[in-house]
């Protein structure tokens, strides 16, 4: 789930691509053309829309009914422990069919996300190769692309912000680019980055989050996270100015984003 501003940007972008996006409407009926194919749909408001293809996307749930009689313990997904083991010896489950019995704090028991599946694969490979390693999902991150808008998220960005979280949001006045940084109200430590149309370095964002870096320090060194291709316009100056204005701060942005400086930051613990 995206925060409201980013969701708005994506919606507008989808419309630009010629897709008739109807928010807050629901399908009540799918119509048959008499030959077993679809001819259209009817919405809850009674509108009839002609079509010859219907795709329903109502979220993901594991398709594991075939395991019912197998003796493998299942719930919504295939239940696994921290080593991704099922209740049957030498049978493992990973990916979006696996349901972690005791998920890490802030994480869901089933995560239908590519990165989770791949990460689990790396852990289970260690375990089956004789080096039992407990699954540790690490810091949350994800990415997507909505037509031409790239999206990256590092750490915790919630659509409905908790009381103790503050947010800083900057959006380009014309282009579809934005950055959001969430941080703790009391300690000012950053907890998450949300990027639209701008690329950030995963390692730098993770470093800042893990080390409880304050929003002011992040702002000061923002260019270290920039991962846009060479010669791209850099918005750090604008972003920091906006931040200073909104929060009455006097952070001075320290320019330059050379890889050697990034490496120096990452080598610090």
């Amino acid at each position: 789930m995206l925060p409201a501003e980013e969701a708005q940007m994506v919606s507008e972008h989808i419309l630009k691509h010629g897709i008739d996006l109807r928010l807050e409407s629901e399908i009540s009926e799918i119509l048959d053309d008499g030959n077993g194919s679809v001819s259209g749909v009817v919405t809850k408001s009674g509108e009839h829309i002609k079509c010859n293809f219907v795709g329903l996307t109502v979220g993901v749930s594991p398709n594991i009914q075939f395991l019912k009689e197998s003796g493998i313990e299942i719930n919504r997904g295939i239940l696994v422990d921290e080593f991704l083991r099922t209740n049957i010896p030498d049978v493992f489950a990973i990916g979006d069919c696996a349901e972690i019995r005791k998920p890490a704090v802030g994480r869901k028991p089933i995560e239908a996300v590519w990165y989770t599946g791949r990460t689990m694969g790396q852990f289970v490979a260690h375990t089956v190769c004789g080096k039992p390693t407990a699954y540790d999902p690490g810091l949350w991150f994800n990415s997507a692309k909505f037509f031409d808008i790239e999206y990256q998220v590092y750490g915790e960005i919630l659509a409905t912000r908790p009381e103790q979280t503050q947010t800083f949001y900057w959006q380009h006045p014309e282009l579809e680019k934005s950055i959001r940084i969430d941080f703790k109200k009391d300690t000012k430590q950053v907890i998450g980055f949300n990027l639209m149309g701008i690329r950030f370095r995963q390692e730098v964002c993770h470093h800042w989050i893990k080390n409880g870096t304050t929003i002011n320090e992040v702002m000061q060194n923002l260019a270290l996270a920039n991962f846009d291709p060479e010669f791209y316009e850099e918005y750090e100056e604008q972003i920091v100015n906006t931040y200073n204005k909104e929060y009455g701060e006097q952070v001075k942005h320290q320019g330059k984003r050379k890889l050697s400086l990034v490496n120096r930051l990452l080598s610090k613990i």
């Binding site: 194919s37 990460t119 690329r199 995963q202 991962f227 791209y232």
Partner: protein
């Protein structure tokens, strides 16, 4: 509405994008321009070349630029490679084969049978295609055209106008825009106009950016003689040629990787990046192709060194033979096999079948030299952004050098490959912002060798 689709792919099942009116008009202009040149060529005409040349060039220029503009203008900026595997031209279909055959035939005629282009002697004068370009040649060099002038003019024309198309396609990506402007500049000014102007001052033809060993004849007797006979200018060219190979190339490659040459300066690269752009996905990504590539390109590097050493040996000792090797025969063999057949006929003729960088990848000795520097002594790498790769494979698909970029990216490994020309397209087409071309010396070995995406959190 009753069509029953068998595939549930959301992408178009068939080529549904019809040509717009502008595209039809511009294509017609372009075809008319081309047709005028073909008629003049095949008719073996000699009359009033100006009346044919200028309109045909104008039609071609406007047609190409307008078509390129219209193709991308109404689209939202972003990666626009839709349908490349559905179009006959870009997916080794019949159109691609036809174009490949035509291009190959053109190169064979150009290199070995220029009389069929209409090349005449001083007394008889030119006819056909070469005659058509006499007015342009007269204007720039002061004398009649040769087959090489015609080739240079067409080559420059194509890089310039298809370069405009490429810029418009990637107008949101400044790296691509700057790089293409650089290529257009070096081709138009340094490779085409400057040498022609030099000729008009009776100085030896010289393309300052064509560095030995790509310019394999640099140390040939006739070339050195020509330079030595042209006073200070000739000495300067000789000095520049050696300096650019020995000093300039290693220094620039140390700081920026081989891309400073291959995708910012070089003419072969220039054609590949502009005219060749629609074919980049056709490069072979298999391990076998990589193996052939390494054997082939390094053999040619050895070949050019040996050949040049032989030629210089003959120059300084007067001995034609070194053991059983005849320097004249060896250099002729190199010129025929590598200089003409490989770089021209196969290098460009096979664009529609094997992708746009066949020569650069398998044949170019300069690329081999730059590659060795890039691999061993350079700050350049493609950085992988942590564990963000989703293994979609767009980077590998559009790598014109056939590098399986994905295999590195999905392991979180930075990419250091001698063949990478730094065109930056992998980074442009990556849907998750995983790849970035950059230069930095520290930690390059660690980042390129270790598997860093481990455990999602790379620790």
């Amino acid at each position: 509405m009753s069509t029953n689709y068998k595939s549930i792919s959301v992408a178009s099942h068939h080529q549904t994008e019809n040509l717009s009116t502008v595209q039809k008009i511009s294509l017609a202009m372009l075809s008319l321009g081309g047709l005028m040149q073909v008629i003049y060529w095949f008719g073996g005409l000699t009359e009033a070349p100006s009346l044919w040349l200028w309109p045909s060039l104008l039609l071609g220029a406007v047609g190409t630029a307008w078509y390129g503009y219209d193709q991308y203008n109404n689209k939202i900026p972003g990666v626009k490679n839709n349908g490349v595997w559905f179009k006959s031209l870009t997916s080794r279909g019949s159109v691609a084969w036809m174009l490949g055959i035509i291009l190959t035939a053109f190169y064979i005629i150009l290199y070995w049978f220029p009389q069929y282009l209409g090349l005449g002697s001083k007394e008889t004068g030119n006819t056909g295609l070469i005659r058509l370009f006499d007015p342009l040649s007269q204007m720039i060099t002061g004398h009649d055209a040769s087959q090489w002038f015609v080739y240079g003019a067409l080559y420059t024309f194509i890089i310039f106008f298809l370069g405009l198309k490429f810029i418009w396609k990637y107008r949101y990506n400044k790296y691509q825009v700057f790089r293409t402007i650089s290529i257009m500049f070096f081709q138009t000014i340094i490779a085409f106009l400057l040498p022609s102007v030099l000729e008009s001052f009776s100085l030896p033809f010289n393309d300052f950016k064509n560095i030995w060993p790509l310019n394999y004849y640099f140390f040939f007797d006739w070339h050195i003689d020509e330079l030595l006979a042209s006073g200070n200018f000739g000495i300067f060219v000789l000095f520049w040629g050696i300096l650019s190979f020995l000093v300039l190339t290693p220094i620039l490659t140390y700081f920026y990787g081989k891309r400073w040459y291959c995708s910012w300066v070089c003419g072969c690269g220039g054609l590949a990046e502009t005219a060749g752009d629609p074919f980049r996905q056709l490069s072979d990504k298999s391990l076998k192709a990589w193996k052939i590539e390494r054997w082939m390109i390094h053999s040619i590097l050895v070949f050019v060194f040996l050949m040049t050493a032989l030629v210089l040996y003959t120059r300084f000792t007067g001995q034609e033979y070194f053991l059983f090797l005849n320097s004249g025969a060896v250099s002729n063999l190199y010129g025929f096999l590598i200089g003409s057949a490989f770089s021209g006929v196969i290098g460009v003729g096979f664009y529609p079948l094997m992708g746009s960088r066949v020569w650069c990848r398998f044949g170019c000795p300069m690329a081999a030299y730059l590659g060795l520097l890039q691999k061993t002594k350079s700050k350049f790498r493609i950085t992988t952004n942590g564990g963000q790769c989703i293994s979609c494979g767009n980077c590998s698909t559009y790598c014109e050098m056939g590098i399986d970029v994905k295999s590195y990216a999905q392991r979180g490994q930075d990419i250091v490959r001698s063949s990478c020309v730094g065109c930056g397209i992998c980074s442009a087409v990556c849907p998750r912002g995983v790849l970035r071309l950059e230069n930095a010396g520290n930690d390059i070995d660690k980042r390129a060798k270790e598997t860093r995406a481990m455990f999602g959190d790379f620790e």
